[in-house]
Symmetry: C2
Subunit: 277 residues, 2 copies
DNA sequence: CCAAAAGTGTTCAATCTACACCCATGG
DNA sequence: CCATGGGTGTAGATTGAACACTTTTGG
């Protein structure tokens, strides 16, 4: 039985969309950006922002486009959660959604309803309204990824401006994992990190002792990322710039995390002393 | 500017495929099932088994179908790696591939070329031939997931028959992570696991001391999985049975792993003493 | 008796956890 | 001067890594 010669695949194609779980930190709580749908199906219900993938657009590119349309931001942390494809998750037609999560800083975003949304709002992930489609499931999957990743990498810094205090960083951890951590232990751990350093500056404010400002210093670790490009030997040379930058960044973070894990305390101390020269 | 009323999304749809990274253990090495393509594009090159998703078929269902077609097996461990969607990863047309990895026992599979494959073969993941599409990248992503998951969950057991010796289990770890581990430390660790227990039976063979046989005992930990279903409160009630079973199983394993992590040594000892009654 | 794999304990270093008080500032 | 958040050290438990020899079997 000869195989059909159809390179032009003739079965009906499903639609492919991207959905975005956009996380931010507000009021010391992890919040998710939701839109109130202006159109059927699920009109009037809350949902994740998202949209269909254009026929010549990469998945990450589509996610970045949606993020930009929704928040006006680009150059943010963006990572794929996975594909969600139950046959009837969308009542219109078969839609397979590739979900991403992003991290943005709430104060940089001016929320504004778009053409397909009545309202846009941040909602704490612990207190979500009824959601359209399988979006609750997607948000939960996204948060699991986020929590896990936060312990292995530096993405916690994505929630903060470039200069931050240790207390602010601690708040990020507490808010994301929904649990409090010991201040002294946290600071000890933070000091052991090779990729954040005090700037020498202070943040004054409130009626209390001023706090030292820190800054991420990727520079000192730059030689490492090459190791992470090993996975990139693959075909697909024509990937979009943005996708490459994003992939590079992730590889970098992973390599950094791996490196960090594999260092002993004494090596870290050595590294720190080198960095601070 | 009113939004277009098009519920019938009119842009061209991409094709959606599933690709499978089927892992097995053979000759003490982690191997991947590859097929030699009988059709263009990439005719004559090695590639992952896979195929297009049918219009009313869930993603996991499609992956299971492909696994069954390729190996004759069902009821295997199957987990999504993610979506791969560079616009030109397939020269024919836009194809978005959702990749899964599966774990099978090599001796249960009778390799047999199908209609679209000239040959089928196991290939060690460290020594892959040139691969079609972005399949090398997919395999690497799959292995990373596998290695990480093996440390957090019980999937190592998926490579083994229901009764196994500790040395066999150790071989799984060594083969998958491509690195040797200390026998005594490994056995200490294995003993601390609450989900495997000696059966009292022995495996005799070879001219050496017989080895104690172990078996996974999920039973003792059954109350836990309910906690993991919390994520399932979502919509999408009509999911296929197989997908549900699979999701349940993953939730179970994750919960088990989380539980295991959070136990102290003394609690584990207590648990073991209870289990062995 | 020999080859081959099964089985077993201890020590040391690193890491994690718990825990309570003094410090600098603004009002 | 006082309220507020910033900042610090230590001891005990747990974990992870390194390391060598005895036991049981089949041939």
């Amino acid at each position: 039985m000869p195989a059909p010669p159809s390179h032009q695949y003739k079965h009906p194609h499903p639609a492919v969309a991207v959905d975005l779980v956009i996380f931010t930190l507000q009021d010391d709580a992890l919040q998710v950006l939701l839109i109130e749908r202006g159109l059927e199906p699920f009109q009037g219900q809350w949902a994740l922002p998202g949209g269909f993938v254009r026929i010549n657009e990469g998945l990450e590119a589509a996610a970045e486009r949606e993020l930009r349309e929704e928040t006006g931001l680009s150059q943010n942390y963006l990572e794929q959660i996975g594909a969600f494809g139950h046959p009837d998750r969308d009542p219109r037609e078969r839609v397979i959604s590739v979900a991403f999560y992003a991290i943005v800083s709430a104060d940089k975003v001016a929320l504004q309803a778009g053409s397909d949304a009545r309202r846009v709002a941040w909602r704490p992930w612990r207190d979500l309204p009824a959601l359209a489609f399988d979006h609750r499931e997607i948000i939960h999957a996204g948060r699991s990824r986020l929590v896990e990743k936060m312990h292995r990498t530096t993405i916690a810094l994505e929630f903060l401006p470039s200069e931050f205090t240790l207390t602010e960083l601690q708040r990020v951890f507490e808010s994301v994992q929904g649990d409090s951590v010991d201040k002294r232990n946290f600071r000890k751990w933070a000091e052991s990190l090779s990729f954040i350093r005090p700037t020498g500056k202070m943040r004054r404010g409130g009626q209390h002792r001023p706090a030292a400002l820190y800054r991420a210093n990727a520079k000192a670790l730059l030689p490492i990322p090459n190791a992470a490009t090993e996975t990139k030997t693959a075909a697909v040379e024509s990937a979009r710039k943005a996708e490459q930058a994003s992939a590079y960044r992730k590889g970098y973070e992973d390599a950094l995390a791996a490196m960090h894990r594999s260092f002993t305390e004494s090596e870290k101390a050595l590294l720190r002393s080198i960095n601070s020269r």
